[in-house]
């Protein structure tokens, strides 16, 4: 693997509002990618980071479509082609009787796509990430609101000073640990 250790400037805020302002400013002024870390979803992060719409609904819709079509095909194939047997005089191709399982297959495939799709899309599981190098980041899941800026030619000291000015409680500079 081509291994270049990534470097991040990080800042922790006590209030989400301050973090949002800082994130927006950083996104507009620095070259590297800006990311926010919050203990719960905070309203306004999408705007501050200018995130595009999530792709997940499309993913799940596709999953549902596959589930519905696959489910009905399975039922049709089993009951009409592979093992045609008369039960209670019902027609081999009993559409009303096939709807419940078709529906369940649609749901199952949507749920599996939603869960595994979102994890894969977000890149989990990934137990190590450079932001964990900062000791204060342990509160990012509890009660602090962090942002990170991946360094791409900016001066880390200047960035840290700027973040302090924007109201950061603490700032940090971390380097990825390569195995």
């Amino acid at each position: 693997m081509s291994e270049v250790a990534r470097q991040f400037v990080m800042a922790g805020f006590k209030e989400p509002e301050l973090m949002l302002v800082a994130a927006k400013r950083m996104r507009e002024t620095v070259k590297g990618e800006v990311e926010a870390y919050t203990p719960y979803p905070v309203h306004g992060v999408d705007e501050a980071l200018a995130l595009p719409k999530s792709i997940i609904p499309k993913m799940v819709g596709t999953g549902a479509l596959f589930g519905v079509c696959g489910g009905y095909t399975l039922l049709y194939w089993c009951s009409v082609i592979a093992y045609p047997i008369n039960v209670g005089g019902r027609p081999l191709h009993s559409a009303p009787a096939f709807i419940p399982i078709t529906f369940e297959c649609g749901i199952l495939l949507s749920a599996l796509t939603a869960f595994f799709g979102v994890l894969a899309w977000m890149g989990y599981p990934r137990l190590y990430h450079p932001v964990f190098e900062s000791p204060g980041f342990r509160r990012a899941s509890i009660d602090r609101f962090w942002i990170s800026i991946e360094l791409a030619g900016d001066d880390p000291n200047k960035l840290q000073a700027e973040l302090k000015e924007l109201g950061a409680e603490e700032t940090d500079f971390v380097t990825e640990q390569l195995q």
């Binding site: 989400p16 994130a23 990311e35 926010a36 870390y37 919050t38 203990p39 719960y40 979803p41 905070v42 992060v45 999408d46 501050a48 980071l49 995130l51 999530s54 997940i56 609904p57 799940v60 399975l74 089993c78 009951s79 592979a82 093992y83 047997i85 039960v87 019902r90 009993s94 009787a97 419940p100 399982i101 529906f103 369940e104 297959c105 749901i107 199952l108 949507s110 749920a111 599996l112 939603a114 869960f115 799709g117 979102v118 994890l119 899309w121 977000m122 989990y124 599981p125 990934r126 137990l127 190590y128 990430h129 932001v131 964990f132 342990r138 509160r139 990012a140 899941s141 509890i142 009660d143």
Partner: protein, 459 residues
Amino acid sequence: MADLARTISPSITPEPLIEGPDDDLTLTDSVFAPVWKPTAKGWWFLFMICLGGTGMLFSAIGWTVYKGIGVWGNNIPVAWAFGIINFVWWIGIGHAGTLISAILLLFQQKWRTSINRFSEAMTLFAVICAALYPVVHTGRPWFAAYWLFPYPSTLGIWPQFRSPLTWDVFAVSTYFTTSLLFWYLGLLPDLAALRDRSTGKWSQRLYGIFSLGWRGAGRHWRDYMSAYTLLAGVATPLVVSVHTIVSFDFATAQLPGWHTTIFPPYFVAGAVFSGFAMVVTLIVPAREFLGLKNVITLRHLEAMNKVILATGWIVAYGYAVEIFNDWYSGSRYELGHLHEKMLGPFAPFFWMQMFCNVVVPQIFWKRSLRRSLLVMWIASIFVNIGMWLERFNIIVISLHRDFIPGSWAAYAPTIIDVSLFVGTICFFGMNFLLFLRFVPSVAANEVKELAHEMRHTHV
């Protein structure tokens, strides 16, 4: 805004959903406290009882498998009895969990936040208990997989998909899978918080692994919330479909007492009804012992009691419309069934069911009774009993006297039946105790989000 309304009329202003500490650290720690505290003696006591019951459950299953299902009390004409009664009862209990976590999320009901984790766990354990019955009822559970699923066996035989029993297999397995994924996805941020709050090396590592390395990035929250809402979106029709399909097990038959078209929605409402009752039964003591009174407030309990009242009325509507149609049909078999139900040998069970499910919930019209812990706890137990009796009556009363008087027979469960039933209750309890011990039973990240929102609307 809240102040404005309060000055106008105190009687129409809701009380806050979270009381007490409102900075995020204290809130997190109060929610996680039951996980950190050393194991209490009471916990061990209950755990041992449940462990014993679980032993009994597995002995009963072992004996059933060894001797065959003849050791159960069901026989022709009552070919279905305890197995399916308890299956339906447990599935119904599971449904309240999904309702609280998914449907209330879609309806933007903020009060769900403190109780959703708790009820999702309840769903999972209840569905496991439920699924045990049909699997054991096959007699040879190790064959169940290829009898039930479309598995390409060398015999070239495929399941009979025009039967509701195979629909059940798909419904229940989909339900379990989806509930598990939904629960685990909801748990991720809290597992990360547990990782970051724990001090022991092993707990850090374990929670770290189970949190999959969650770091709460903004990009992730966007996709995460999208997936979580979508899972809630699919869980909602799913929960309706599962109990609908359970009701199809009965309603597709031609048996009076089973075949009536109102069954699907009335089963769904009944499931929610009994499930909410079970949540109240469990949560009233649990919030006392776990010290979660500030996040699970009287307002939550009151809201649940209102849901019990509302779904109780839907169930009552089902009873009334079913009885009316039995009579209106003019079919002598339907009329015969009606007579057996109300005046036959099992009639006391029927009237007990009416008392528990129709009369008892009416006490919740009164606000003070909705808010009394003792009253709601007792009422919820009545509803649990009533809903168990409902399934008993549907199954046993309808079957024990069917079309031909020559085949009429009484029904009584055997000791194995009872051990299986008590055993699943203990098994459920054991799982639940383990959950309370090792996993935060309240979703910390959602409570913090709600607290954040409340701070901002009060300012």
